[in-house]
Symmetry: C2
Subunit: 236 residues, 2 copies
């Protein structure tokens, strides 16, 4: 017998769930690879950058500023401090453009939020840079559908535990909707919550993972956000 | 006749209220001024840096990453892209040290939190970089006294309004304790809340301001945090 779940809060991941983000990061990576192409081919410089990013993650976290700093650091390192300084300036400017990139909502997001917000308390649960995310939410004009935005410094199990404590709810009263198995789906399932996975066409290497043996009674995967309203058995 | 206020939540500012912060920023500024001292004297380079910081604030916000990026930008600009690239590397490294600087609690902070946490719900209400502040809170070992940490992208009236909405309280149920008249005291008083000002010996130029005509029934200034327990008429 199925027990009807009592979901009280639905958390939406933001980047690449509500709006496009990854393509803008990949475009900045391309700027960097082009600037250092005389030193090494793009597949190598890109790997060097990823190495720097991973190393800096505990200190810098996620977001446009962290990414810009890691690019500058990598450019200096692989050029042995010989890169033209105008290149550093180019990186700084491209990093500012990333932070202020246009906001491109994913298809049908607003219609689904409108529907769900009538019956559930919705929040944005995202990691990344506070200011980046607040700016995107403002540009998205979706603010009114959400009770508030929760910026998490990371999205591991412990971070979600803190979130539930802060929201004064139990894990089984929480449903996460997001594009990342690693950051959205798995930690919430592990704690006993519900999760909907909406894959996005591009996934950052850091978020890539395979998953199997997910609890089918608390997890579904959909191809598009509208499918949630049709296919999700826990949303009433 | 005085109405006894019904304070439900006490918000503590973090930097330079719970722990020292400004001195570490000033030390990084000194690193920058030293690196460019052949180009211009420190009082001028320092002013140039402040100009960059102000210009970048809407995009970058506050915190160690924002400050590091503004220093690199200023160094490139005032040197006309002629600064040795090892200097950029020095700035990056000093910026990382800033982000991970040691945590020096201000005097008697823990005793006061211990006392207040028995009777009030305490939160940290701070602007700045999410990861910076979470790291500092962890290092401070004060986490258990606080219900949670609220990182605000800015501390203007509108940001506090959002905070109150999120906390589901009225302004008059909130007391802020902080070192900045501009960011802590004035916006909360304007909304009808209570405020305690504890000046710190160093104040960032951006936070400096004079204030007069503050509502005496909702505002006090103390010289040290322990004075709160003795002199604050709204804490019972």
């Amino acid at each position: 017998m199925h027990i009807r779940p009592d979901i009280k809060i639905i958390g939406f991941d933001a980047d690449d769930t509500l709006w496009a983000s990854e393509p803008y990061y990949r475009a900045l990576e391309q700027v960097f690879c082009d600037l250092v192409q005389d030193i090494m081919p793009p597949e190598i410089s890109s790997r060097e950058l990823y190495k720097t990013e991973l190393g800096n993650m505990p200190l810098y976290g996620y977001g446009a500023k962290a990414y810009t700093l890691s690019i500058i650091e990598t450019a200096l390192r692989i050029s042995n401090n010989k890169l033209p300084e105008t290149s550093i300036q180019t990186i700084l400017e491209a990093g500012k453009n990333l932070a202020d990139s246009p906001l491109e909502l994913l298809d049908n997001v607003e219609a689904v939020l409108k529907n769900l917000s009538l019956r559930y308390k919705l929040i944005v649960a995202t990691k990344g840079d506070l200011l980046d995310q607040e700016r995107k939410l403002k540009k998205s004009k979706l603010e009114s559908y959400f009770h508030h935005i929760e910026i998490m410094s990371d999205k591991q199990t412990g971070d979600y535990q803190k979130l539930f404590q802060h929201l004064d709810i139990k894990a089984e009263e929480f449903l996460i909707i997001g594009n990342s198995l690693k950051s959205d789906v798995l930690p919430v399932l592990e704690l006993g919550g519900y999760a909907i996975h909406i894959p996005y066409h591009t996934t950052w290497l850091h978020e890539k993972m395979d998953a199997c043996n997910l609890p089918q009674e608390r997890f579904i995967k959909v191809e598009s956000i509208t499918q949630i309203l049709q296919d999700c058995p826990w949303i009433f």
